[in-house]
Structures are given as structure tokens and as C-alpha cells.
Assembly symmetry: D2
Homo-oligomer: 338 residues x 4
């Protein structure tokens, strides 16, 4: 039984905490850390976590953890990763690993120094989603020929737009590309084994023009080219009317794949006065529920059987670099080389 700890109990953290507590055989969630007392109360009551901490260092020093999941804010994440890794606690960290390339490079060097004693994995859960895995296997089996074009949408539901507008007035999301497209960027690198070579980004606010004032975007698009001329189109957004739209299309010379053109919530079709419809996944915890379990299962497997993790710090660094180049392109309004 591996002893697990968690830090950060917001929506993302609670998703992981719940999985660690109930959905992963061979793991026991023994410790939780948060700066919010009510979050710790919930962890105790609902998840039966025994050791509660308000200091991350305290948890690492005292809880005798085999591994820790870091889902605290991106501002404190780099220091936490470094502390856990240096102290020999296997570390799973949410993306992004930091807000600047320099910060991530520093984290990366710490991870490198300790790679013999501590495993590290970053939370690009799409690589563990059965739909994306299926698509990758179809591509690798040559069934769609050579990949020529990829379109990736990552668009949060409109139901969260109000909350985002409030958040954006006081906080920095890192920009829509670093906050959202980063998953698409990683997925595309993983699906194609190619790197981004140039981007042109553009964005605008229609539903909430006040986002202009805080430098945030409701919708941002990118035209990108990969190093072998695969053409890429990204749309990141925060105002999807019907649910959580994470869609990826891959065109090949012999066939195309569309992953989740409709983010179907289940297998039920409804016939009613609106026509004939499918209900949709409303959020990332719903859409990627299984992938969040699978990424931790895979990490646990790497710990137990001493394997390399499937998403490493280098992947996190590259995805951040590309997303920040998109931001640069947006600001300069020109094509940027990577």
C-alpha cells in the first residue's frame, strides 16, 4: 500500500484526492495539505484523510509519503516540486510547472539531479484518455496515412464565464494559451512526435468586452506549423454554450479522426421539442474522469515497477514554451518562430 499525500484541494485537487481515496487500488491517501481549513475539513470527513497540514514542508517532512500530488496554484508549484523531489518523495504535479520558462527550467534541473531517486510526472491527462490513446494507436498503425493537419479546440463551458471574469480582475491566468491551449499543444506533440516551428495567434472578446481591460481572452486562436509542415489550428475559449468542448481532429492522407466533435455525456439520445440531441460533458472532471484515474495509476505503476513516467518535465517545459510564444505572437500581432 503506497502512502499518498495531496496539496491543493480546489476543483482539480479534489478530483485527484477523491481518486486517491477511492478509485486506485494499492494506494492510501494519508495526508492532505491546504491553506483553507474548510477544504481540510472536507478531506477529513469525506475522504477519511488522517493527517492534515497547512504547511507543505511539514507534510513532506512528517507524513512519510511514498508520493505526493501537487495541485496547488501555479505560483507556488515550482517550489513545492523542488522540495518534494529533493526530499525523495515521488512527485506528480499539475501543469503548468511554472509561469515562466526560466522558472520551469530551474525546476527541471532539480528533477534531473534527483531522477535516480524520485519519479516525476506532470498532469497532461489527455495522454491517458482512452479516446486519445485510441486515436494515437490508429495513427501509429498507419490507418490514416501521413498526418497533414490537426485542429484542436479546448473551450470551457459558458457556465464558468462569470466566475472567470471575476477571477481575471484580480488574478493572472497566465493567458488563454498557457492556461488552456497547453493541453492541446502537449497532445499534438504526443500524437505526432513533431515540434512546433511557428505560430500566429489572435484573440477577441465578444460576450464580455470587459476582458479587454484585464488583458484576457474569451476566445483565442492560433495557426501553427510543425517542423515537418503539418498544419495546426488551435481554438481556446471560455464560452462554450453546450458544455466542455475538447475536440481534436487529425487529418491524414488516407483518413481523418475526430475525437469528441460532440462531447457526449453518455450513450443516451434525447428526442424532445428541441429536436434530437445529445447531452454534453459539463466540465473537465466529468469529461476526463477516467483519464485522471489512469494517469495516477500509471504513475503508481512507474513507482512500483521502477519505470520511466509517461509525461516528464521536459514535456511540460516545451508546452509552456510554445504557449508563451503564442502569447508573444498575440501581443506583437505577427508570426513568431519557435
Amino acid at each position: 500500500m503506497l502512502r499518498a499525500g495531496i496539496v491543493g484541494l480546489g476543483r482539480m485537487g479534489m478530483t485527484h484526492a477523491n481518486n486517491l481515496a477511492f478509485n486506485i487500488s494499492g494506494v492510501k491517501l494519508v495526508a492532505a495539505c491546504s491553506i483553507f481549513e474548510n477544504e481540510l475539513d472536507k478531506a477529513k470527513e469525506n475522504l477519511f484523510v488522517e493527517e492534515l497540514y497547512t504547511s507543505f514542508e511539514d507534510m513532506i517532512d512528517n507524513a512519510n509519503l511514498d508520493f505526493v500530488v501537487i495541485a496547488a496554484g501555479a505560483d507556488v508549484r515550482p517550489k513545492m516540486v523542488e522540495y518534494a523531489v529533493k526530499n525523495g518523495v515521488h512527485t506528480f504535479a499539475e501543469k503548468p510547472l511554472g509561469l515562466s520558462v526560466e522558472e520551469i527550467e530551474e525546476v527541471l534541473s532539480v528533477i534531473e539531479e534527483n531522477k535516480n531517486k524520485t519519479k516525476f510526472q506532470v498532469g497532461f491527462m489527455r495522454r491517458f484518455d482512452e479516446d486519445y490513446i485510441y486515436a494515437k494507436s490508429v495513427i501509429e498503425n498507419g490507418l490514416i496515412g501521413d498526418v497533414t493537419y490537426i485542429r484542436a479546440y479546448g473551450i470551457d463551458p459558458a457556465s464558468g464565464l462569470d466566475t472567470f471574469v471575476k477571477f481575471a480582475k484580480n488574478s493572472n491566468s497566465g493567458g488563454i494559451y498557457h492556461d488552456m491551449s497547453i493541453h492541446d499543444i502537449d497532445a499534438i506533440r504526443w500524437l505526432t512526435n513533431k515540434e512546433f516551428s511557428k505560430v500566429w495567434a489572435f484573440g477577441a472578446n465578444f460576450a464580455r468586452p470587459e476582458l479587454d481591460e484585464v488583458g484576457e481572452l474569451e476566445t483565442g486562436i492560433v495557426q501553427a506549423i510543425l517542423d515537418n509542415n503539418i498544419m495546426v489550428h488551435l481554438v481556446a475559449g471560455r464560452n462554450s454554450p453546450h458544455g466542455y468542448q475538447v475536440e481534436t481532429e487529425i487529418m491524414g492522407t488516407k483518413g481523418w479522426l475526430r475525437i469528441a466533435p460532440v462531447p457526449e455525456k453518455n450513450l443516451v439520445t434525447v428526442y424532445d421539442s428541441t429536436g434530437v440531441r445529445r447531452e454534453c460533458s459539463a466540465s473537465f472532471p466529468e469529461r476526463f474522469h477516467k483519464a485522471f484515474v489512469e494517469e495516477i495509476k500509471s504513475f503508481v505503476d512507474c513507482i512500483i515497477n521502477d519505470k520511466n513516467t509517461k509525461v516528464n518535465a521536459h514535456d511540460a517545459l516545451i508546452a509552456t514554451k510554445v504557449s508563451l510564444k503564442c502569447k508573444e505572437s498575440l501581443e506583437k500581432n505577427e508570426i513568431v518562430e519557435i
Copy 2:
């Protein structure tokens, strides 16, 4: 230019009249007959029909027609067909040809006697719908193997239920099987080249229990067996929540076909707060718009090129026989042989 006349200018008749006036090359709609003055006014104003009649015999005697389309009520239809046919005017008649088997047999004998001088076709438009034609060609090319099972839904939209309830208080629809399933019965005979051998029908009223009192059904089902043991399931109804549901499924030993499981109105998919949806055809004139044109085009082709029509009076007779056996089964609540 063939000279065409029409009798009956209700919804069905107006659909034909409009096609005769505007959508069929080589035909001119020269005469219209109705007992309702306002319908004749519309025909004159909107369809530019020159000769207007309130008596069918008058029209046949005086309008010098090449052919007539009979869309008047089923009660007067048999006499009209006989009169037109005897007078050498090629005749296209809506289904059913009459309300009893005897009545239709009589009409049939008149049609037979005059078959050398007058063409006759009955309005089973599904045989001219591109989706049904496509399905038949797939079956005949052996692509789904041997047909084992057919399911056919013919369900009118809920938007017409109020109107039907009012109608049913004063009029006789002929029963749900004769009124609605008759199209499915004909389509199944045409798709399989097999005849019905036994049926068990059942029905009930849930949305409008008052239909019990007038002996009508909101929903009626039939389990039927064809003469080579193909299994058949029919659902006829008057309360479809989303539109006009005419759906036919054909299972074969190697593949299945579903014709219009969603009665898609067009190629547009809508993503909105209800989820992701297709809007639906709202009525038979919308769903079968093209088939109504094609059946008349085919009839005109038979007249001009002296061919046999593709749906004859015998087909009308058999479909009525089967639908009346369904009614008998419903009333006796037992399995009825045909």
C-alpha cells in the same frame, strides 16, 4: 405539355397542386376542383389555375385533361377514381383507395377493365423517396445479406394531436393502421417482395385518454410475420415530441439499415444550451417533399412513354387488407392470420 387537374385541396392536395403548377417540367395544372370556394380561390391566385370546378364530373367532362390527381376524402375517392378511369383520364389517387376491401375490389375491377386506355397509380410516395430507394438497392445488391427483421415507425408530430382529437370526435380516420401504418405495410412489401401472413395489434392512449371514447389510438403497435418468417414490428402514432418520425430499420444477416432514425431537417447541427442537436422534419410535406414530386414525375413518364406505373391498384388493395387485419386483431386482441 400534359394538361393536369386536381381534386381536393387540403394539405395533401395542395402539396400535389403546388408541384403540378411549379415543380414538374412538361405539365400544366389547368383545372382544380373542390367543394370549398376559398380553396379554389387560393388555387387561382397562387397557382394560376384557370379552370375551377365544384363538381368532379364537370371537371372530367369539360377540362380536357390528360391526367387527374385525386386527393379528395377517402369516402368519395372510389367513385372519383371509377369516373375518371372510365372516361379515359389517367388517374393518380391518394391512398387508401377506399375504406373497405369490397369497395377497393370494385374500384380495382374498373381499373382492370380500362387498363389499356388509362394509367392508374396510387400515392405510396415512399417508393419514390431517395432514402427508401437507396435502402432497396442496398438490399437487392445483397449488401446486408438476407432480411430477417424490419421495424417501421410512422408517427405524426405532437403538434397535430389537438387537431386530431377534434377531428376524431366527428370523423372516422379508418383507424390508426389504415390511416398511418398502410404506408409502412406497402413499404415493407416493396422492400422485401414478401407478403404479410399474421399480425397481433395492440394500442393505448396515454396523452389523450379521451381518444378511448371515440375508438381512436394515440399509439398502436403490431407484431407481424411475413410469409418467409421475416419478423416485422410496426409502431403507428400521433404524438411524436420532436417532429415527424417515419423510421424504418431493416436487419439482414450481414448488415442493418436504418432509414431516418433521426428525421433530420437539414445538414445543420446546433450546439446550444440544450446540448448538441439536430432539428427535425415537422410534417409529411416537408419530409417527403421530393418524393411527392418524384411520384408524379414517374407517373407522367408512364403516361408519355406508355409504361406500367410503379404502384398499382393491387398494391393499394393488399395494403388495405393487411391494415384492416391489424384493426381486427386489435379489436379481438388476438393473433390474426391473413
Copy 3:
């Protein structure tokens, strides 16, 4: 940690065994029983089961189990259930509970006598499938009005037809209704809270006429009426060309639901030379993977928190009664009251 045992390690049993070993927190699969040595070897190697038995009584007597999952053949199932229940081991048994109504009634009386000390649940996993649960909640919230009609298909993939034909030459499946429709019968009772009142069953063999000789069916249909006149149509089959087709349609006075009209394997749509397609679930372990986990989780919850199980022996008895009435109707070729 609950100590679990399993008997029967065929496809169904191995599905349960795997879940008990890896997918259910708070449970340890400690014992397995089979009459096939190679199955026990697999359980040891792949599932790390420590105690292996060839006698069921031995396992119950010695393995100190909290609960047992019975997935052995229907012929030995009744005796096993009785032995486990009498010995105070909570029991989860696959359906059907026996091959005759009398046999199941006997089992039922033993379960009743011991209900204070042992929990019992039967394996109608559809009640734990998220799609069926969603449909039930939509119905119970009144969103589709009153239920008027249900259509349920349970059709095994054609890929298994050869195997079935071989099996049928030497063994008795119990008939297609008892073997397959039983799940649909239970699901319909559960969705509607109504009982079956009459049935007419019919079946035929087209792909494999040799099944006639052994009294088995490739495709069997049923027209049934529930006690409040809800109309029901069942299709059971063994020759689905595209995958495992478990589809249920519920028509209400205000809306309809279709559960899995396409048994979509995942969220990927493929565009290739065949057109645009969805790949399909190929088998029951794939389609109901999550439901198989959830039904055991629910059973475990009932054990730990002393709750009533969600599917009891009475449900198993009724479903068997109805399915055997379908068989009787098929044999007599008449409508049978229940």
C-alpha cells in the same frame, strides 16, 4: 478490507475476478474456485489470488470469506447460492438463478430464511450502468411524461455466432429469452415499476438454419404488454453485424430516450473510404465494464453499511418467469398471459 472469493472463471467470472482484484477499493480477492486448473493458474498469476479451490464447499468452509461472487454455470448455481447463504457468506450471483421457476423459488426461500445474516444480490448490471441510471432519472423527473412504449434490443455480435452454434449442439442455453432477453425484462421492470401481463414471442433462423435442429434462435422477438398497457417490443439476437447492440428506447408522452442506438466504443468518429463512422463496443465486458464494477461496489456498500441490495432474488425470479413465458408463447405460437 473485505475478503472476497469467486467461483467460475469463464468470461463473466474473469470480468468479476479482475474487478475484485484491481478495481474496487476496500476489497481483496483472496480465493478463487474453478474446476479448470488452467483458470486457477491464471487467477494466481495475473490476479495474485492466494487460495485456489476446486470445490466450492471447500472454499466456503475454509477461506473465511466476507462475500462470494458466483459466476459458475446456471446448472450448479442454485446449490452454490444455497450453500453460501446458509453459511453466512454474503452472496452475489450471476443471472439466471436457475433454469426453472421451481428451482429459483427454492433458492429464494433459502435466501429469505437467511436474510438477516446474509446479503444477496443478483447480477442485473444494467441497473448500475450510467446510461440506464440517467434514463431512469430522466423518466422519474417527469421529463418525458408518461411512458407509453419501450423497445429493447439485446443482440450479441456476429463474431460469436460460430461459437454459439457449436455450443448449442451440446448444451442448453435455456433459450434466447432466458439467456438474453432476461436483462431487458429486468431493465424494463426497473425503469417502469410495472409488471409484464402478456406476451407473444416469435423467432427464426436465417444465417444459420441448422439452429432450427437444436431448437435455438438466431433472432427472437416479443410483443409484450405491461399491466398498465405500456407497450413493449423485445428483440434478442446472436448475429449483430457491427458489435454488441444493447439498445433501449423509451417513448413518453412528452419525449423519448434512446439508450445506445449506436453502441459507441469511444468518442472518436472516423472519416474514411467507408464514409463517416463510429466504432462499436464488441462485447458485454467492454460495453458494461463500468457497470460490472459499480454493481459490486454497490453490493460492498450494502454489506458494510447494512443496506438492502438493489437487485434481489425476487427480481431474478420474476425475470425468469417472464422469459419462460416468452419461450412458452414461442412454442405454442400464441399470446400467453402472465
Copy 4:
């Protein structure tokens, strides 16, 4: 009865000729012109055209036409339009109106000078397609809020790629944007009432690298911005594996529309060993069959009732300007202002 003539009897021209001969009431196709004798033979035999010409001027001078449809090659089109228009024959011309902006501007001035006596319409048939018309009405009714983003694919089927490669070795298509995206550019202008303000185009050849040598593209993409910041993404291609993919997505602040995400050929769904699939439209004459009829019907209506045509020469000019800017961007590999 309007007297119609046609010039050019290739695939596009024959589509129009057939419609003029058989599918449009009130029109008679009296004359056809082609430099290929065999095409004229076909027109005579199959379409019963009486007057056949090898010289366009001859036809205009002698056939006493009310209107002419110009479907001859883009190289000769400008001169033909000018000749017909100057001679008072109402003119319907295929797009593009010419291969350079200057050429089209010259044609435009001739059309302007004669606008009181001759009607002119250009063949942007999407404006007459029921799906596009439906989408426009949904947008204009405010049902999807403000338009924020449009994605448009215009991708020819792979079945035509060989033919195109041969063609491209000897001929100039005008480039993929002028040849194909021009329809999307016009549709977007029409749907939004906005103009293009900047573009970045990129393209590559994967299936047929030899297209590099003749300066043609298998797939070309464009990122464009409209004058109010609506974001636009275009994909033009010649290698669609499943059929003719003309798809347009419109995202608004309250809803999205997807026109033909699957270019469904009909309403039939096929269940077979490939999964569950829809067959697709294989070509533009199939996909836009009705739109080709409707655009001519609309043109005829403008002639008869002296109305302004719905697509004028100015629209043709603008669409060409934008598509040529895409070409310029592709060649310079930079963002180009319009």
C-alpha cells in the same frame, strides 16, 4: 417561357444544362455552345437542345436568348460575359469571373454600364443551399448571439486527386484559394456582412509531393480576421478520404452551428462490420444539386419580376481579391493586410 442558352458543357456546365432542360419550370433550353463536338452531341441527344453552336458570339447573335449561363473556362469567361451583357442577354456566370483583379474590374464596369437592361448573377450557389440559408436565418434571428469565429472546410474527394495531378501538370487552377476557398470566402461575407481584413495562408503536399513542382497544393489553410475581429479559419483541400467535405462552423456567443460536419448523402445509417456509418456526398453536383437549381430559379425570378440578383459582380470581385491575397500570403509566408 424563357429561352435559355448555355456555354461550356463540362461537369459544371452539364449540371446547369440538365437543370435548364428538366428541372426549372418556365424555362426552355434552346441553345448550347461548346468547342467539343461530342459535348454538343450529348446536349442534343439527352437534353433535346435544338440549336448547337461552336462560337459563343454566334449563339448570342442568333439564338434569340432571354438569358445565358456561362460555364466555359475562366480564361474565356470575361470576354463572354462582356459580349452577352453588351448584347442585352441576361447573364449567369460561374465563378471566378476572371483570373486577375484587373480583368474582373473591367468586366464589372461593363456590367455596371448595362445594368438597366441586363441582369447579371454569379454562381455562388451556397447562398441558395437550404442548409446555408437556414444557418443565416438562425444567425439573423439572434439565436446564436454575436458571431465570434467561423471555420470553413472546402475539400474535394480523394477520388479526384489523380485527375487533378494530371490537370495541374498542364494547366493553372488559379491556386487552391482562388479555385476552392473562394466559395467559403463568399459564404462568410454573406453570413456575417463583414469584410476580410488580414490573412496568413500556408499549405503543404503530403499525399502527392510532386504537386510542389507545379506550385499547387493538396491542402491549404488560412487564418483570417474580419473587420470586426471575427476570427476565421479556412481549410481548402483536394484529398478528402470519405467524400466531398464542405463544412462550415459558426460560433456565436450563445450557440454554434455546424453545417454538414458529416456530408450525409441521405438519411440512411448503415450498421455493418465497419461499425455504424453514414455514407457521404461524393461530389459538388451531388451535394449542391438543389442549390444549383435554386440559384437559376432565383435568377429567372429576377429576370421576370425585374429584381436585383442576389449575388452580383461586386461579390465576385471581392471574393477574388481575398483569395488572391491568400495566395500572396502563401508565397511571401507572412500576414497580409487586405
